[in-house]
Assembly symmetry: D4
Homo-oligomer: 250 residues x 8
């Protein structure tokens, strides 16, 4: 029930067609979102360029297919994350607009042009090549939400000159996503060089005392640079989504 239906209900009360008691009853059990308060999930996309997101890990091919199909009529953009290649292979023939990105294990379905909704460019930086899958997940998420994104990969702190060589891009961006595993030191360095929000994403890349990304996570939480906030380990999608929220025009 959306605001129109509510308006109609009140109109019918006004016209005496629906008694007050009956209206009251309907309002009481009125699903919460209908009052316009809560973010109405199925309207979100149309108004704001938010795609529908499907977290595919642990879902079967047929579950994923069903969800995509259900969303289809609305002509929405769809982002499927953590989709294993073999599942992607099954799904691709069925959805012609679908495109699979094997590095990041992301599948995107875009209908029509995505209008630019950003104020500036989002820069996604990765420390090592092994961090690229997570970085790409972030990049694709921000892109499908209508943002311009540039990538700067493999510029970890052990070879600082690689990062410093991109000075121009660093000053031009409106928001940064910095993805790093192992020592997770890169967001601190980037945060010290720029005056824009830095979204730090630790990855599970590493071994031994990296403890599945815990080391990088702690590093980032303790960043001595200001302006750095942290996502869960390997949460590229979340970083891309947040960057889009930060960068969006309103």
């Amino acid at each position: 029930m959306d605001i129109k239906i509510l308006e109609q209900l009140l109109e019918e009360v006004r016209l005496g067609r629906v008694p007050v008691a009956a209206a009251l009853e309907r309002l009481r059990v009125l699903p919460f979102e209908n009052l316009g308060f809560a973010r109405v999930d199925h309207h979100r996309q149309l108004r704001q360029g938010f795609p529908e997101v499907i977290f595919a890990a642990g879902k079967t091919i047929s579950q994923i297919r069903a969800i995509i199909t259900a969303l289809h009529p609305n002509n929405e953009n769809i982002l499927v994350t953590r989709l294993a290649p073999e599942k992607a292979e099954s799904l691709l023939p069925e959805f012609p607009e679908a495109r699979y990105h094997p590095d990041s294990r992301v599948l995107t379905i875009c209908r029509g042009e995505i209008p630019n909704r950003g104020r500036g460019v989002i820069v996604v930086i990765s420390a090592g090549t092994s961090d690229i899958p997570v970085a790409e997940e972030a990049l694709l998420t921000a892109q499908i939400m209508g943002h311009q994104v540039e990538a700067l990969y493999d510029v970890g702190v052990a070879g600082l000159h690689r990062l410093l060589a991109h000075q121009e891009l660093l000053t031009r961006a409106s928001c940064f996503i910095v993805v790093a595993g192992m020592d997770g030191a890169l967001p601190s360095v980037v945060g010290g060089l720029v005056d824009r929000p830095v979204i730090a994403v630790p990855t599970s890349v590493g071994y031994g005392a990296s403890f599945g990304g815990l080391a990088a996570l702690l590093t980032m939480l303790n960043s001595c640079a200001t302006g750095v906030a942290v996502m869960n380990i390997d949460n590229g999608f979340g970083a891309g989504y947040l960057a889009a929220l930060i960068n969006r025009k309103d």
Copy 2:
């Protein structure tokens, strides 16, 4: 560009084949610190409304006094965080513009009006009353950076109606700081209600299995709501600073 090319460039300058301005331009993108690239700390404040920040924990009164005095001539706004009351008491008589906020243990020194540099309002939300000191640190930080901030305290998830009663404010803000200890569940709830960036700050409030804020930290990192990023435990200052970066007009 290697040393040969640099030599050649200088040679061409010497021969008048490359004008100084053009050479300068090529050199500009070279060295880091020397060319004004790196954020020059003492210029930052003037251009962007960034205050000087002094982390007082572990500094003696005389060290703090010395730093404030050194900054004084530049007429800068100063933010002193984690300042114990007894230290504040010593410093206040010496700096007439200083104001001490005992709850958050923050001392601010503002010279003249702080111009509004924000695009919208930042809302600082705290779960419990014990979380207020951290929330206030965030609030004061954002304010001294030139942002409008509103506070919504003691609206933890155990009494959800308290939060939901402020629906209007939730839809109006451009950025949220959500401060919570114990179970740290509030950022997830707020993140599910709004479409704006949420900066989650775990606090060390709690006992037993809160492990000094670890429980709240992990909760927030695993938030099932999108658009939530996390700061270090009790890092109100960092949250206020990041919110100011997100909210600033440019």
Copy 3:
């Protein structure tokens, strides 16, 4: 030796057939349970509607078959938890009353009607769809113990309106089981809305800093709502069992 045998022994003492010293010796090594003190496992089910429970993880098919067969003559209800599908497939043809629930990997064998032993309805709530297997294990456990259970799935805090839409059910229940992974925030929210016992079950659903359910576990232990107690990670069976104890008529 049961109470009858003890009675007989005393009788023989009385009749002088067994000397005091010999009786004394026999009483000294008298097995504990025979005095009627300890809960006699094989009588429990008959009196109280407790099923026999088989934890199948790590047991071979033939071990499980043997246990079921041994219990058969007593016509007891049997609950097999953590039973892999391939094992279930082997067992189902042999036990006609058996029913396998693939989501929760639970096998139930019920002989005859299960009488209602509850005072009210137990509501099982899950935060996400991935938490449903654990929730179902709880639900099936409580059902086979003779309790009425209703399920409310996929109502996590990131979309609070989904939970709030079920207000009527929330006020009607006598006990809640709340199952959540990732941030584990749902029990705090439910605990704040209701005045009934809430059994919180963290799940291992999540990735990165969820650390196999540790994040959700700590969240729940630190719940700022009152009336919430916590089970081990993924322990749906335990939650269903405890809910049945709480809800039972006596």
Copy 4:
């Protein structure tokens, strides 16, 4: 705004006194709790015998005094937990009905008789003498909520006969609170002996590898007995509150 006001608003719409657009606007910002959904905190006590609870840790004497005074007119029962002795000393002369329990650092203010609201007796068991403060906090909480409580202290598993000697009490209770530090093994033993809900409370009693109660907490979460749920470390209040919810007549 309560349901009456909503009815009135609809009535005025019906009568044409309030236009549909204006009504719509009012409904949009309708405070949530006014619809009667959320638990109204200040009514709770009167209906259900719930006391007002003040968590005194970190609150100043004047803050605590202010809260007590504010609650006074309602003649409510008040429970103040984690109140340091020196604070209690200040408060006692001002509130004649107040009684301080130094062991558990609990202060209770009871006006008039507390009616019995329980179905049976709650038994509070502690493993060691050092666990008694937490046990007492649980006991006093349940008592002020109108429940009959019996204590069984210093019956840890290292001297099992002390527990087993109280067999009669074990079979008589309707709910158990078991408080233990160090190895935290007692709830498993009690859970194996009884058929009633067991609320396990780990305490921070211990040293070395007890890690502030973590050892006992993990023991209890992994209890091999059924029917055991766990509270946060040292959370006697929470256990008493939950036991009262479980035990209450309705």
Copy 5:
């Protein structure tokens, strides 16, 4: 009720003075320990040379005094562990046989000669001088239980020759207690040199990544030498007690 009373009961059954049903009833609620099964605490000392042990941490002076006084009439040996010096100072004048050991914070009260109950000599080894208090607690515990103990202190692995110089003692002992903080490596080295049980006691000596003794504890649990078992951090008393059990003649 002790064995005598049980005998008497049976006698009365035999004589027909107590009917079988009544005897049955009394036996049903017979306190457990009375059947002679459980270790009767107050008889233990007399038979086996076990002292009464008072863990003084967290007990007030008057509580400790009361316990000592209660034990006095039995003329038992008493061991008070973790007794702060200021408490010891209060107690010493009242108990003339008491002797306080400030290093280990142990107070011993011995009445008469302690007979030798050991099969051989127990050797207590400490890695550093800071580990001596824990080592001494172990030593004094074993001594008061009637065992011959020799100490070998400050022979940590960083100066291996200090240990190796005592070869003769190493071959002569019947049981070892090895106390070490920091890296906790000493028990592995001792365990590799001897063919006797080694009781390893980690201490909280260290800083940084010693994490309060956790590092030493893990080292010892992972000892690559055979014949090594581990106590809780700083648990000198427990080690001394166990060594006495291992070494005792029977």
Copy 6:
């Protein structure tokens, strides 16, 4: 160089055949073990009934075969632990005296009768059936070292009467090995019932917050019973070995 060679060297010094300086030089580099100090590994078995132990985890079949073959001529008893069934299958035909124990994954090769080297009986107790493999590893280790062992399995604290029914065995043993996963509470209970050394072995049996045996490990380290020492998780071999050291006649 053994003691004979040293004697010879001194003899030659005495006779003036070797100058003091040369002797000095040879003594300086004298291999340590030759002085008879260090435990000479290949003599150990003959003197004391210690078997050769091969930790098979991570070794190939051919490596294991080679080691067994090398030991063969000495006619020693051999214990192979953590041997996967498929490896055992390959090895069994080659060594006729070999016997494989699939539960504990132990292979034993015994030549001739193993003489009894123990003072009493070692009792191995397991809490659950899943703990039996670790318990069996302990049992077989102690047996091959010449000790009499009795097993008491599946007597966990959740059904205490099962343990208490074996009172006679508990009083008869000279040393206990108690194996438990999940809550790891059993050693505390056994330790409270007996006056003999208890070797506690945590197992990795469990799930969720058992954290691979960490919960049981911490429980045992914090045991409130005296006389309990702890082995590494799943270290049945180590427990059996230590029990044999404790129990051996000398």
Copy 7:
């Protein structure tokens, strides 16, 4: 130096007042990457004997082949670490100089003789046979960097005489790499015997409370011997590289 000064310098070059060589010298200390300051990766090898290192874990065969091929023309020595056997098998036929070391999963490609760049011998010590793969990775790394290395394997602290027998080697080395899993005690012992830098490498060898090498790591960090520094768990390559830096002539 700021932009003005740079402009002036160029102006003076243009005017012929500052010769190009002098300007070059001044500029040399300016920009980081461009002026040859930063370690230029592709020059490093030629000057200092550093090999190109490829961390093969997570790279596909074709990625590895491409990198090797790209490096080929420079005739550089190449070290591929963590290369799975099946990948090695594919690569070996294509690169005739390649040699695969299956134990350490290292592939080396050496063109021509590696000149000796060390001041002394590096000794690589391993505690157990299972630690050898990590030790070998260290050994091969140091060798390909031009250093003489000697190995001393399987000399763990449980059989100390095995280490002590190699006294001569211990006094001769200029740097030590000590590799150990389980209790990780060996570096402390070696550190106590020698006066040279000891690089400690914990391995993930062990089970239970070794927690994947955490126990050994903590042991080494807390080493009571001086001169010991620690690498990440299983980081043999890093240790070999650092040893080469320490040992190199300059």
Copy 8:
């Protein structure tokens, strides 16, 4: 017994004054160090410039005084670490050569000139001002061992230009000590810029998720730069000592 005494013993054997058997007996129990194998502690300083080191934490003033006095006659250099100011105040008047460094809480006693024993300069780098005490402890340790040290403080990664401005020093050093708390990222950056050994020292500087230095420790262990090894948290002394070993001429 030193080498002289051994020589004398052999001499006496040669002269027939001591029979072979008696000599044999004396040699058997010959303290290990006397054979010249083990590093003889009291000779070390004279030969190699190693000072005597006293770890003052936990030692009383009189204990420290006694040790210093005992060392005095040998005219050795003495380094006292972790000495509280109040203890220093007591000791200073008694030892005229003593000098106290309050920042690092180090007391040094140097007799005469310390000869230069280093091959190059050791550079000590600290990230923040709060890390300076640990850095100074390292610096003073290396200095008293005869090494030239230069300090570069407050050059953390959040202001990278501060570090890069010291390029010349970075290329000149022979060994680095890098001290950092919070995110601990500096050693990775330094390690990426230099080709010399980097000794990384995490400090306990930080709050919240720094967990007492654990975050910085893990960062450093996972450094993506090569040539970095790690010390225990706050172990400045150890780093200075190791740097001296690395840098020493031989």
